[in-house]
Amino acid sequence: MSGHSFKEFPITWGMVIDIDKCTGCGACMASCQTENNVNPQPEATNKLRSTSWMLVYELTNDKAFPDHDVAFLPRPCQQCGNPPCVSVCPVVATDKNEDGGIVSQIYPRCIGCRYCVAACPYHVRYFGWYDPIWPEGMTKTLSPLTSVRPRGVVEKCTFCHHRWNLAKDAARAAGKDPEDLEDGAYVTACVQNCPSGALSFGDLKNPKHKVHELIKSPYAFRLLERLGTKPQVYYISRREWVRKLGDNYLKSEKTE
């Protein structure tokens, strides 16, 4: 193998995030935490030790008042087409091998070496520094759709992969083709619950899905695109300074 070469998938799940609509409320993060059994963390202000598969960053244009501007950037796993985290895993606990192009992360196989954490340019991978503890009784609200990770393994956003499985099951039950889901049949928890409609989700390759068109917008961009990681998460902003923050642009470069 020449390093790692990743195949193309006929279904490529992708997210499109309209930064101009995100108010930074955190509903996506809240939805993610409980959907994916991330435990409540009393010391969550230590961002190096806490876990948030979905994380909203605050962006600014670095100008002084009153020319200053703010934007919010929700950041799930970018589900790279060419994921830097996969090739460094010594035990194949993470892989990009399934239709849909979602980068998998298998907790029981993970040995906690954190090579992937170091390799990921987007900081989407989280190491479990602490045992997952819930307040008494709250484990009754755990979701059966995601397993609970023990301390010492790496975890990350899965695009709520279990929801794809559910959608496929629902399609089978309805006598439909599970490989050709309708737009909206499978969306992640963050996308579903976003009150601002800033997040969209679908098959980037399926012309019947809205995101297929959205990524063609002149305002669409991906994070650190020039690294060649080919993320499946696209961002849209009509503000050029936001787009410029997406990669290490020269001052004179245009992004549109």
């Binding site: 499109v16 309209d18 009393p42 969550a44 202000t45 997952p132 009150p195 409609g197 800033a198």
Partner: protein, 717 residues
């Protein structure tokens, strides 16, 4: 033959080789590796059939309908209900917490009685006997504070307190109280409702419409619908306020102005509108014109607020040329704004002809009360709680003999906290119906825990901000986790003990009667295929299906009605405006405190929902220190460095904070997060940062006499 060394070695070697041909090493290796994946302290996920049920959020003031995922009948997660007009599938970080908050460590697990400084658990029967006794003795002087802005339970509480002899029924101050006062002064009727769905140009004066103000989830859904991803937006939002907050961050324009100056900005815009020929038949127009021309010309406004005349001229033009313009006024943190600014904003709506029009402001009628002797919402919103408590603290008014606190946390959630605590301490007998051990409950003699949303029947009636009348039902889906009871039922039981006739035996009957009365209200319909904003825009309202309304409501649909109260005297009240709208003062040594609120830090009654703590950025809370935001010019003028620990002093108290330089705060303003600094609740709330609300002194608004505290000077050292 004895076993010699060789034979023994042979046995061992044979045994070792033989073992290799058995499952022992391989199976053990496999099992041990599995064993290491299943530590007993790692919780197992539940198994069972998945289903979905619907209810409405009571923890979140936005009142969104919820879809609850259950496994084997147990609630697991809360999502937005796509069929509900106040959710359309969206959910706030707070409403998302409805399920796990059932198991919050801060929950009060049974009735508790204060004994010395601690609480001891007692039975419900004991609690009721004691309470009946004490309230009977306090007859004629029982006050009630309610933090539930939208529930029919207020009817039960107000009727009960009324029949006991009331010393006042108070709502926790909010946008609704400000708006009610403003409408009353202007001679209007009904609750101000905002049709975001049909508006195309929205001027937002201060109100944090996309975070905490009113029906914030629905506001954002409406905003989103007019702004499809990747194309030119079909709406224009202009935000006026002290910081580029969560709302301003997505608006098309931000005009920096202190919360104290919002009324000035509004009247400044009125000047431009009137100059361009705007006129109105509403009472007081001529005087208004004189007031506006007299003191709110472009130069006056620039002097007071620093806003360039061209900016306001632009706003006026955008509003006047729009098909559906709307002005929304509110406090940047959801409370404390005087009625003056609200009235100035409404004056713009009247000038623009936007009252009771699609995409404008509707004066929504109130739904009929069903409990005999109950107060109307309009009457409840009239009382001024901070003003009352301040008078009690100062000895200007007698303290009530008893106080009932429902779904409210006045000891934490009011300004000038020291004064409010003093007043509360003067009340000899206090009962809290809080679900959580909050600051107020900790001060009470008796805590009678209310069951949470998923454990009780309740309702949400037209939350403030909604552009239409709406009624949705809260349905219980599990037995109370702890020994709690719905407060409506407790009050009705108590009324029986005190021989007070409230007509109903339990709260479910009250709700059934309420729903029955809705079915008779003309113009109402169940929002299914047709949404109320479509009806406002001209689509015919479907008839209320002859079937069972209760059943439709139980299935998660909402009853809605588009309509407005006929206005007889809505006018500009220019004399009051002239007194109430004054530019804020600024002196050199102090800065203006501009608090901001976010639903992810909960409400005063919920504390910080434990999962939501992870959402708080480390530029807001780091360890146990909260950060205040200011621009570099402000920091320089104050002589404080980025990251410095400072002390903010105001209203006779002080709070600690770390300085975070953030340029989207007006110069001369320091912006501080609310929702922190709890001294009660659990490890997720207690001791996290400071409560900056305490720094705001309560002042009386000239002209309206209303308490206000939206902006105040603080000292920073």
């Amino acid at each position: 033959m004895g076993v010699d060394r060789r034979a023994f070695l042979g046995l061992v070697a044979g045994g070792a080789v033989g073992t290799m041909f058995t499952p022992i090493p391989w199976k053990l290796l496999d099992d041990v590796s599995i064993w290491t994946q299943n530590w007993p302290w790692i919780p197992k996920v539940p198994k069972g059939q998945i289903d979905y049920v619907t209810t409405t959020s009571k923890l979140c003031p936005a009142g969104e309908g919820l879809k609850i995922m259950r496994v084997a009948g147990n609630p697991i997660t809360a999502s937005g209900n796509p069929a509900h007009p106040l959710s359309s599938g969206g959910v706030s970080a707070l409403a998302r917490s409805e399920v796990y908050m059932l198991y919050s460590p801060a929950r009060v697990k049974s009735p508790m009685k204060k004994s010395g400084k601690a609480f001891v658990p007692i039975t419900w029967e004991q609690a009721l006997i004691e309470m009946a006794d004490k309230l009977g003795a306090a007859k004629g002087s029982v006050a009630c504070i309610s933090g539930d802005q939208s529930g029919t339970v207020n009817e039960v509480l107000s009727a009960f307190v009324g029949k006991l002899g009331t010393a006042g029924y108070f709502m926790m101050p909010s946008e609704a109280t400000t708006a009610a006062k403003g409408m009353q002064v202007m001679g209007g009727k009904g609750q101000a409702g905002y049709d975001f769905e049909n508006a195309d140009t929205v001027l937002v004066l201060g109100a944090d419409i996309f975070e905490t103000w009113g029906t914030s989830t629905r506001n954002r859904k409406a905003f989103s619908a007019k702004r499809p991803v990747g194309v030119k937006p079909a709406s224009n939002y202009i935000y006026v306020g002290p910081t580029r907050n969560n709302t301003a961050a997505v608006c098309d324009q931000w005009i920096p102005a202190s919360a104290a100056d919002l009324g000035v900005v509004a009247l400044g815009i009125a000047w431009h509108l009137i100059k361009a020929g705007a006129t109105s038949a509403a009472p007081g127009f001529d005087t208004l014109r004189a007031v506006v021309n007299g003191g709110f010309g472009p130069d006056d406004v620039k002097r007071a607020t620093g806003i360039e005349p061209a900016v306001l001229a632009g706003v006026a033009k955008a509003l006047a040329s729009s098909k559906a313009a709307m002005v929304v006024t509110g406090s940047p943190f959801g409370q404390g704004l005087g009625a003056g600014a609200f009235m100035a904003g409404m004056a713009l709506n009247i000038l623009l002809g936007r009252i009771n029009k699609p995409g404008g402001v509707y004066a929504l009628p109130e739904l009929a009360t069903v409990v005999p002797g109950a107060m109307t919402r309009e009457a409840m919103l009239k009382a001024d709680l901070p003003g009352f408590l301040k008078a009690v603290a100062d000895g200007k008014k007698p303290a009530p003999k008893a106080l009932l606190v429902y779904d409210a946390n006045p000891a934490y959630g009011l300004p000038e906290a020291a004064t409010m605590a003093k007043a509360l301490e003067k009340i000899p007998y206090k009962v809290s119906f809080s679900s959580f051990m909050d600051e107020t409950a900790a001060m009470c003699d008796l805590v009678l825990p209310n069951s949470l949303t998923l454990e009780r029947y309740d309702d949400v009636v037209t939350p403030y901000g909604s552009g239409f009348c709406i009624y949705s039902l809260v349905t219980p889906y599990q037995k109370p986790v702890h020994d709690t009871r719905p407060t409506g039922d407790v009050i009705l039981a108590l009324a029986r003990k005190l021989s007070i006739e409230l007509k109903f035996d339990n709260f479910l009957q009250v709700l059934k009667e309420k729903v029955a009365s809705l079915a008779k209200t003309s113009g109402g319909f169940v929002a299914k295929d047709v949404m109320p904003w479509q009806v406002a825009a001209g689509k015919p309202a479907p008839a209320l299906a002859g079937g069972d309304l209760w059943k439709a409501l139980s299935a998660g649909y909402a009853w809605t009605m588009v309509g407005s109260v006929t206005q007889t005297g809505l006018g500009f009240a220019p004399e009051v405006l002239a007194k109430a709208v004054k530019p804020g003062k600024t002196s050199g040594k102090t800065v203006t405190l501009a608090p901001y609120a976010q639903l992810r830090t909960g409400t005063p009654t919920t504390g910080i929902p434990c999962q939501d703590l992870t959402m708080v950025p480390d530029t807001e809370l780091l360890g146990e220190t909260t950060m205040v935001r200011m621009g570099s010019a402000t920091a320089k003028a104050l002589g404080v460095k980025p990251g410095a620990m400072v002390k903010l002093t105001g209203a006779g108290t002080h709070c600690k904070a770390q300085v975070h330089i953030f340029e989207s705060v007006m110069t001369g303003v320091v912006s501080a997060p609310l929702g922190f600094g709890h001294t009660a609740f659990d490890i997720f709330s207690k001791g996290k940062g400071a409560n900056y609300l305490a720094l705001l002194p309560v002042t009386e608004e000239p002209g309206t006499g209303m308490s206000m505290w939206a902006a105040a000077e603080v000292k920073i050292a």
